[in-house]
């Protein structure tokens, strides 16, 4: 169908070139950073950042893993991500499902209730006061979980998907005496795997990557999630230098930071090849149904 004129072929070439340039822009800093993290500190000072390390060294990673804070960071991040994702998914999923039921008379009022905060919020200070004065969340691990549990966006995304499930299926299950919760968990959820997978990934990513909640509420070092540790890396390095069991080895300042960065994003890199497929699918569903 498509004619292959000279100008068309030139156009295709140009488009490939532009896309490739942007793709390289997206990838290059990560690769360079990784190479920096496996170089020796001295070679960086002498030769600058090189794509191929002049002097190979794993000292930075050894230091990162020798300090116990990385393990507590991992424990906090994993706990927050797993518990937060499961709770958020169940809470938002149930709300989205109930709102997809057409015979629910107040579903539009409820949808409005969930929609208003997307347009109008009270701002940071009242929210901060509610969290610290009423809920007493400061220096509690729940401060990293609870404020992010409900997302109106995810509720609407799931509701739109649940709406496409045939209502007669649900009705016939009801007639057979199946209760509402069982219908949801045993019939609706298995029929909605694409959207559930996508929303799960969205939520898990948000929990894993969040550090602003820690910035607001956490002072205790033992409750730092990984990303907040990375944010506070300078002060942690100070700590390692003073109290660490490193003996008289100099902590390599540059490479230590970058090595920590790669340690904190390790799980994402491992999951990415499997996960991105669901992301793309989910965005497609959201965009078409949206």
């Amino acid at each position: 169908m498509k004619t292959k004129s000279l100008s068309d072929r030139f156009g295709s070439g140009l488009m490939h070139l532009l896309l490739a340039v942007f793709a390289i822009c997206c990838l290059y800093p990560f690769i360079l950073a990784f190479m920096v993290s496996i170089s020796s500190e001295q070679s960086l000072i002498n030769y600058g950042y090189r794509l191929v390390p002049v002097e190979f060294s794993t000292l930075a990673y050894e230091m990162v893993f020798r300090d116990s804070s990385i393990y507590t960071g991992y424990a906090v991040s994993i706990f927050v991500t797993v518990v937060g994702t499961i709770l958020s998914l169940v809470i938002c999923g149930m709300a989205g499902y109930a709102m997809s039921i057409r015979r629910l008379r107040y579903r539009n009022v409820i949808a409005m209730y969930f929609y208003i905060p997307m347009v109008f919020g009270a701002g940071l200070l009242p929210w901060y006061l509610v969290c610290t004065q009423i809920l007493q969340l400061q220096n509690s691990i729940w401060a990293l979980i609870v404020p992010m549990l409900v997302s109106s966006f995810n509720i609407f995304l799931m509701r739109n998907y649940f709406k496409t499930i045939s209502y007669s299926l649900i009705e016939s299950a009801e007639i057979d005496g199946c209760n509402v919760f069982r219908i949801f968990f045993q019939i609706v959820v298995p029929l909605s795997t694409p959207i559930i997978a996508t929303v799960t990934l969205f939520i898990a990513l948000a929990y894993w990557n969040d550090w602003t909640l820690a910035l607001w509420f956490i002072d205790k070092r033992s409750l730092y999630p990984l990303q907040y540790m990375l944010y506070k890396i300078e002060s942690i390095m100070q700590f390692v230098r003073q109290y660490g069991s490193m003996g008289n080895i100099q902590v390599p300042a540059q490479t230590f930071q970058i090595a920590t960065l790669f340690v904190t994003i390790g799980p994402i890199i491992l999951v990415y090849p499997f996960a991105q497929r669901y992301f793309v699918k989910g965005i497609m569903i959201g965009a078409i149904k949206g």
Binding site: C26, I91, M94, Y97, Y113, W127, L129, L261
Partner: protein, 325 residues
Amino acid sequence: MKANITAPMTPASNLNSKVLKKHGFLWEMKKNWAYYLMIVPAAVLLFVFAYLPMPGLIIAFQDFNFVDKFRSPFVGLANFKFYFTSTYAWRTTFNTIFINFNYLIWTTFFSVSFAIMLNEINGKICKKLYQNVMFLPYFFSSVVIGKLVTRIVFSDGMGLANQALKLFGQDPVVWSRNPNPWAWIIIFTHVWKNTGYQSIVYLASITGIDEQLYEAASLDGATRWQRIRYITIPLLLPTIITMSLLSLGGMLRGDFATIYSIIGDNGLLFKYTDVIDTYVFRAIKQAADFGPSAAVGLYQSFVGFILVWGSNKLVKLYDENYALF
């Protein structure tokens, strides 16, 4: 089909709903209690974190202290005066709008362009490869991105940017002391991070366009550029407008996480990068200026709401179908 058989469809269903209404609130609750129960956890949490703070806006009109809390003495508009007469008001408002506006323009420009290109090129493997690599930065937290920007690309000594400058025979720049470029660095960091994600959204809506339109255009001898110009872009316009409208509400908020992870508390760079959210954060956490912070929050919400509502009205005047609500 069914509508044809039971011809007086509308009156019948009206009658039906009238009968239902007779049963009232309690009847509905009794019949569908399980469904409403499913909504309760989400509704309660939303109430606590989104509705409960709203009365707290009263602090904007008070001289807040922790003893009296919400019964602190009223001071009228003094908090607003404090902010709007300070040098911060103009600077933070301008920076916020400047940065957000550029976010919107450039992210839309690049992601629409790349979406069209991804749609036009042949070769499934190339397409997948570009898409996956472009999508990659979206997966990392703003701290990771911030560290890459400040330690690898724009680090003072031997970063990528200084290497590039050296290549063109320019002197290296001490980035951490030079406020001028940082607004643009923040803008393009955000664009770089989000373009991959948004281009997939746009690509999804391009693939929804009817293939026959392109075939007809080809038969009429339309060139590729004409097909893009007269089919793809006009049909993409509703999506572009919707996405832009959605981000207008946050015009005065800004991407706190990205900006704070890049700039942090480096006061030397505030001139062009201090936005309202970072100002409020410092006012709360470092200065404990609660009254003014609440006032600024109210200002943000109010302007954001006006922006969404107003631009939606404008869009509605232009074409009813493009409006959000």
